[in-house]
Amino acid sequence: MGDTENGQLEGKKKGHLEVPLKWFLILHLSLIVNSFAGTLSKLAGREEFLSPKFLFLYGLVLLDTFAFALVWQQVLKHMSLTFAFTNKPITIIWGLLWGVSIFHETVTPKMMLGSVIILIGIIVGVSGNE
């Protein structure tokens, strides 16, 4: 708890992160895990309903969601919900990356531009809360 308070004070003073770096990284790892759910759902959706492959992939969706829920609750102990939520749109960009690399989906210039603007928004939103 102490490191959180110190981190928050530091963030307010210097205009940097208001949470310890460790928990900031854990937050982002959890958001990457969260972004897998959409990919796994799409993979499951391509299989025949209730086939073994479908059930396996759907099981992974549930497992992924469960893992995210476990970590999310710990993440929330170390930062404000508003701070955590400001980082959440990064999942849109992860989803885009998985879409391109796994499903060979097309990325339009608007998607690229939108991703850059989202990233700028996250950087502005999380860099200090003064």
Partner: protein, 114 residues
């Protein structure tokens, strides 16, 4: 009220209650529990996940009538609901800088979905 508007309202309500569930998770995270397992198995967290489940049902129901293309308009509303509820209920500080960041993200989501 047209049928489309009605089902869009259902979807919006679903986004709203899942934002409320996020507030409940944070409220639970702010409390002290005797053990790690009790951090998860307590009435607030269990109710929050019950609300998430209800929210998925409502979204699926709404999607029977509302086109999925409306998703980039309705789903990002959680980025408004959560900070507002966090400010009102949890008394979290939402600085001008954070509001600016969220406004930029909104523009980004809009450009991304165009």
């Amino acid at each position: 009220m047209s049928e489309l508007t009605k089902y869009m309202a259902v979807w919006m309500f679903s986004v709203f209650i899942s934002s409320v569930a996020q507030i409940m998770l944070k409220a639970a995270a702010n409390r002290e529990y005797p053990s790690r397992i009790r951090e998860y198995l307590n009435p607030i967290v269990i109710s929050a996940y019950g609300i998430f489940f209800l929210s998925t049902i409502l979204t699926m129901y709404a999607l029977k009538y509302v086109p999925l293309t409306m998703s980039p308009i309705i789903e990002p509303c959680s980025y408004i609901f959560v900070p507002v509820l966090g400010w009102l209920i949890l008394k979290e500080k939402v600085s001008r800088r954070r509001i600016l960041g969220m406004a930029i993200m909104f523009i980004g989501i809009a450009v991304f979905s165009m």
